[in-house]
């Protein structure tokens, strides 16, 4: 081993190396972007593709089956973007709600003392977790279309709900003027309930006497709005679906696409949520429960005050991650044609306008934004869930 020649010592300096290396990396990336951009501009010219965001104000010219904001084929492409975005959010929220419910049930069932229940829950997780979500979406969609009858032979429930292969038709509520008071009553009821809860919690802290607040809660949250509802003369009406020609008119409907997508997303994501809940509960040492019982807490109190806060701290971050995954997976709707942003904006509009770069970037931006929002929520939750006095709560 000889000494490094002084001429080269310059290159053996770590700082200088770092600068050189980073300059090189930046230059390489700049070159990739530059050559990509110049290729892009020549390609665009050769193929006569337009650039820029003018296409957003152009007329879309196609119909969308499901929309929550005003939409017609005369609406602009930007409107299509909003319709798709709202549909993405709707199917994600529905999926998240049902995935949480199923996941909670399955996760708790896996830990059941009942051998059969525990095994069935385990089987559910292993079955649905190991089938790709896209396959599940296609399967349920295919099954729905294969099993359900045509509109003339719909399954009928109480003359108000109809199920056929065009979807599920439900009565649509029409709210009259007075209905705002019912909603107001509900809000007031919730506020009052919170106040009552707090009052009795304070009383318990002072005197040690607990009070069952269930009756008050029911009275405030259900009783008050119902009272107002009747006193304003039942300000709600229903528009019933009815068979007209080959299809149902009126009412509100859920398409089979929506149903298949929401169902598959819930069933699939529920397996992960169930696992997160199981891991969370199992992460609490048995000694905690024993200690709680030894201190004289009732099983219910020990669950509520000792077990759950610790279990949730472990379970909630992965569950929120699964919510994000569910939202991203909702983009697979493009395979069955539920009009969310991926299928209707990055699909139909892209095919018509041909401006792939702008459209794909806008779609990606939407998902990035959703990811960012969920990541922020996760951070806030993480900070709140930190139990004071544990090692990772910070000093």
């Amino acid at each position: 081993m000889g000494k490094i020649k002084p001429d080269f010592a310059f290159f053996y300096n770590n700082k200088i190396r770092a600068i050189l290396f980073q300059t090189f990396a930046l230059a390489a990336i700049a070159y990739i972007f530059y050559s990509g951009y110049s290729n892009f501009s020549t390609n665009v010219e050769i193929r006569g593709i337009q650039t820029g965001f003018d296409f957003l104000s152009a007329e879309s010219g196609f119909d969308i089956a499901e929309f929550l904001i005003d939409y017609s084929s005369n609406s602009s492409n930007l409107r299509v973007f909003y319709v798709g975005l709202i549909n993405t959010v709707v199917v994600s929220i529905i999926g998240i709600i049902f995935a949480s419910i199923i996941g909670l049930i399955i996760g708790v069932a896996r830990l059941s003392n009942n051998w059969l229940i525990a095994k069935l829950a385990g089987g559910y997780v292993e079955l649905f977790r190991n089938i790709p979500i896209l396959l599940q979406i296609l399967f349920w969609y295919n099954l729905i279309l294969a099993v359900l009858p045509n509109p003339k032979n719909s399954f009928e429930f109480f003359g108000a709900i109809f199920i056929n292969l065009r979807g599920i038709y439900l009565p649509k509520p029409i709210f009259a003027d007075g209905f705002i008071w019912v909603i107001l009553a509900l809000i007031i009821g919730i506020v009052l309930r919170a106040a009552i809860k707090r009052h009795f919690a304070n009383k318990k802290a002072l005197t040690g006497l607990g009070t069952n607040t269930l009756a008050y809660s029911l009275l405030m949250i259900i009783g008050l709005p119902v009272l107002v509802y009747f006193s304003f003369g039942m300000p709600i009406d229903f528009d019933y679906p009815a068979l007209k020609g080959f299809n149902f008119k009126g009412g509100s409907s859920l398409s089979p696409e929506f149903f298949a997508l929401a169902f598959a997303l819930s069933v699939y994501t529920a397996t992960y949520i169930a696992e997160a809940i199981r891991t969370g509960i199992e992460s609490v040492p048995v000694g905690q429960k024993e200690a709680a019982l030894a201190l004289g807490l009732t099983p219910r109190q020990s669950l509520k005050l000792i077990i759950l806060p610790q279990a949730l701290k472990v379970a909630i971050p992965p569950i929120i991650n699964q919510y994000l995954n569910l939202t991203k997976n909702s983009s697979l709707a493009t395979a069955i044609g539920y009009p969310e942003i991926m299928s209707v904006f990055a699909g139909t509009v892209l095919n018509q306008a041909g401006q792939a770069v702008e459209i794909i970037l806008m779609t990606m931006a939407v998902y990035l934004l959703i990811s960012l929002v969920i990541a922020t929520i996760l951070n806030i939750v993480n900070r709140r869930m930190n139990i004071k006095g544990t090692s990772d709560a910070g000093i």
Binding site: A18, F21, Q22, A25, L26, I29, G36, Y37, N39, F40, T42, N43, V44, I46, I49, S112, N113, N114, W115, L116, I117, L120, E126, L127, R129, N130, I131, P132, I133, L134, L135, L138, F139, N142, L143, A146, K328, N329, S331, L332, T334, A335, M342, A346, L350, A356, V357, I360, T363, M364, Y367, L368, S371, L372
Partner: protein, 363 residues
């Protein structure tokens, strides 16, 4: 003095042994438990017999035509008829020996690697270096073998090809990204973070769209990249970001002292990372790496949306055959079973590894 006489063991009381006791303890402890058991049994009764009838008892397994199959049970004749399509796609039938040979070769190499005693690392490294060339030659052709264009690849074969290439290529890129994210060089760190977080924030399908629709616009005119290759680029870019996060987890678990010790020994950066840090970091992250490969295998089905003929898209393609109309359910169930077996075995394997490494860490 009477000698001590060993008494025979007493019988376990009837109420504490046997199947009845097991039933009582596990299924009928109390009223609620019994109710749950009965509800579950009723649920099973509703689901299992019709399903079993459809799949086995009313099903047709003989290679007959669609009309002879009947509509009560599954028509597995359809799967038998289309089996080659499900496995090889539109690969020319007279060339199917090539993927078959490749599978045999791969299995042989795995066996060889298990049997090796000395020079293990060296020989495996050689195999890893040469294998892709052989695989490419066999599947694609060249050197005297007739060329089979990639648009003819399909079925399970394509699924496995995409998953394997995605796994192998994304792995080193992911490690580099993870190192970049941990680097002291700010620009490198920033670039890695942007890349990883961007990719992880968007669904795979948008990246596949990007690769299939947008990417061609960024290549020089006339420079045509194969559709399969574009999909592979997309999947690799996507997977690399996830591998990077998994490896970063491993890197963060390495105590600082290891870095300092390597520096104190005078190891160069490459040696420090390659000989001290990475072997430990990768070992910790192996379970998560396998987990992320399982996720990748599931994600390969998405290529059907950009028009590649993987095993899932074969259901649609074959059930559009007018001789076999109305058999897509059988197709989906068959693909489900195939993919489920593969994915379930992978997840069992992952669990096994996890247990193995967990015990080692506890020492």
């Amino acid at each position: 003095m009477p000698a001590f006489k060993l008494q025979p063991n007493r019988q376990v009381p009837q109420s504490k042994a046997g199947i009845l006791q097991w039933l009582h303890k596990n299924l009928f402890t109390n009223f609620t438990n019994s109710a749950f058991t009965l509800i579950a049994l009723y649920g099973l009764y509703l689901i299992v017999p019709p399903l079993a009838n459809w799949m086995f008892f009313d099903a047709t397994f003989a290679p007959v035509s669609n009309a002879e199959c009947g509509r009560n049970g599954a028509c597995w004749s359809y799967i038998i008829e289309k089996l080659d399509l499900f496995i090889y796609g539109f690969y020319p039938p007279e060339q199917i020996w090539r993927p078959q040979l490749l599978v045999a070769l791969s299995l042989g190499l795995v066996l060889l690697a298990k049997l090796l005693k000395n020079n293990k690392v060296k020989i495996i490294a050689w195999m890893i270096a040469i294998y892709p060339i052989i695989a490419f030659l066999l599947l694609h052709g060249g050197l005297g073998l007739s060329i089979v264009a990639t648009y003819k690849w399909g079925g399970l074969m394509l699924t496995v090809v995409i998953a394997t290439v995605g796994i192998v290529v994304s792995f080193p890129i992911g490690i580099l990204l993870a190192l970049g994210r941990q680097s002291k060089m700010r620009i490198i760190r920033l670039l890695s973070v942007i890349y990883i977080e961007f990719i992880r924030g968007v669904p795979l399908i948008t990246i596949l769209f990007m690769a299939s629709v947008v990417l061609p616009l960024f290549f020089a005119d006339g420079f045509n990249v194969d559709k399969l290759l574009r999909a592979l680029i997309g999947i690799t870019m996507f997977q690399a970001a996830y591998i990077a996060e998994v490896v970063r987890g491993g890197l963060q678990a390495i105590p600082r002292g290891q870095y300092e010790a390597a520096d104190a020994m005078g190891l160069s950066f490459a040696k420090k990372i390659g000989l001290v840090i990475l072997p430990q970091a990768l070992k910790i992250s192996i379970p998560n790496i396998v987990g992320s490969f399982i996720a990748l295998f599931k994600d390969t089905t998405l290529v059907l949306i950009i028009g590649l003929a993987d095993i899932l898209s074969m259901v649609n393609l074959t059930s559009n055959d007018e001789l076999w109309l109305g058999r897509s359910t059988e197709g989906y169930v068959f693909v489900m079973m195939v993919l489920w077996i593969i994915l379930y075995s992978m997840s069992r394997y992952a669990k096994k590894i996890e247990l193995k490494y967990n015990t080692q860490q506890k020492n």
